[in-house]
Symmetry: C2
Subunit: 265 residues, 2 copies
């Protein structure tokens, strides 16, 4: 089903802009109504552990597609895309350290690598806007703020680490609606995991996010926290896999699937 208000540029057009290097920015607000994806690429030897990590932590890591060893085409969600070029910015972690940020991963690609596409909260933002819930980071033309929390993920094999959340300020009178709307999309993080009181989930200072940009919170709003697909990057730092390639936070793969394709009702 096509989204209700598609922008003129299709996901494949935008991916081509990204592949050619013309577009290197965050992807929030692009191709509205289409599902965006977090990316994690790992050596095959770690693929069972990571798939199990995702299964045990479905709120931060809802799997949209797994691309088998050495394959570059996400044929279930965006056939014709190339996982090596079609994300605006990649992070490469080696032994738990961010070693490189780059626009292509051609130089590190090998037939041993398995790619995981993980749902992204950007893809329910269109549904929030249709419900007349404004998005502060889009109003401020910046990246959504993301924070490491004191909530641990469930360990699987070598993978563990803190839950990372994204935060959107929501008017108190809109909180029920925001929860209802996002509950329809469990594959893109679903309902919030926490409303209000950042300190009680270990976030000391909302003005200082671990990833992305800070946003203004108004007097009639509460900060609302959704599980975030950057969680595997926090796990990379704790778990120290020899190699983990990811998107840079906010710089997502835009798929051909619509939000409606993944809504559960």
């Amino acid at each position: 089903m096509p989204p209700t208000s598609p922008k003129s540029e299709s996901p494949s057009d935008i991916r081509l802009d990204i592949r050619s290097g013309r577009m290197t920015n965050v992807t929030s607000g692009l191709a509205e109504g289409y599902v965006q994806a977090n990316l994690v690429i790992l050596p095959k030897s770690l693929s069972f552990d990571f798939l199990l990590f995702c299964q045990r932590n479905p709120k931060p890591c809802p799997i949209l597609e797994v691309i088998e060893p050495g394959l570059i085409d996400p044929h279930l969600t965006c056939s014709g895309a190339d996982i090596r070029y079609d994300v605006p910015l990649y992070n490469i972690y080696r032994n738990g350290k961010l070693s490189e940020t780059c626009q292509s991963i051609e130089h590190v690609w090998s037939d041993d690598l398995v790619s995981f596409l993980i749902g992204c909260s950007f893809s329910f933002e269109n549904a929030l806007k249709q419900a007349h819930i404004p998005l502060r980071h889009q109003e401020m033309k910046c990246n959504v703020p993301m924070y490491k929390t004191s909530i641990p993920t469930v360990t699987a094999g070598i993978f563990s680490g803190p839950l990372v959340v994204s935060m959107r300020p929501v008017k108190r009178s809109h909180i029920s609606k925001a929860i209802q709307v996002t509950s329809r999309f469990p594959d893109t993080h679903g309902a919030p995991i926490h409303v209000g009181s950042p300190i009680s989930i270990g976030i000391a200072d909302l003005t200082n996010p671990d990833y992305g940009d800070p946003v203004t919170i108004l007097d009639d709003e509460e900060p609302v926290f959704w599980a975030c697909g950057v969680t595997p990057q926090a796990a990379a730092i704790v778990s120290k896999p020899e190699l983990m390639i990811t998107h840079a936070p906010g710089h997502m793969l835009i798929t051909d699937k619509t939000d409606n394709d993944f809504s559960i009702f």
Copy 2:
């Protein structure tokens, strides 16, 4: 959260009855409100393929827990249970053939085996009954009828095969409610995959199920089909893994988790 109308026997009591051999029957209607699980046990070498098969086929194969190689305790869903004894009846498939049906798998257990617990539609039956939707197979005191369909699953590694469904007759005026109620439980197969016309999903004769028992359908009812956790057993026959141990259809592992633990709203 405890279920609203717990029966007197707890899941752990029933598991002990099963372990001792006192209880070898189907588990539908037992420990109402508690989640029951389908079981699949495979050699470690096939565990990534099978976990990916489940991820790609979440309606028939929603994973509740994966128990790592050689471990016997499902510590996330029913700590203290023993995967080798606590299912009333097991099926053992070798190279695609059902080679043995037995009350324990002690004789084939090894440290190389990984166990997968998969959600079961029995666990939303309590919610259907609370919504005043009667369950014909429970009224008839038999096993729910299950059918292989003409709908293919999505292949992963060696695993492929037909989607298996369970069928419950539902009064036409109750169909909306039945869909709404079961939509709340995606981890136990969620909403139906098909309503009415069995032939259009490849089921020629409802009176002759592939697994379980036939049930009566009344004039004011339609057959309603839910994806079924017996799907991996159909995949075993097609995919011929050297060894796959499962529960016998209808003979489930009863966990300590309640339906409410897995409801999404």
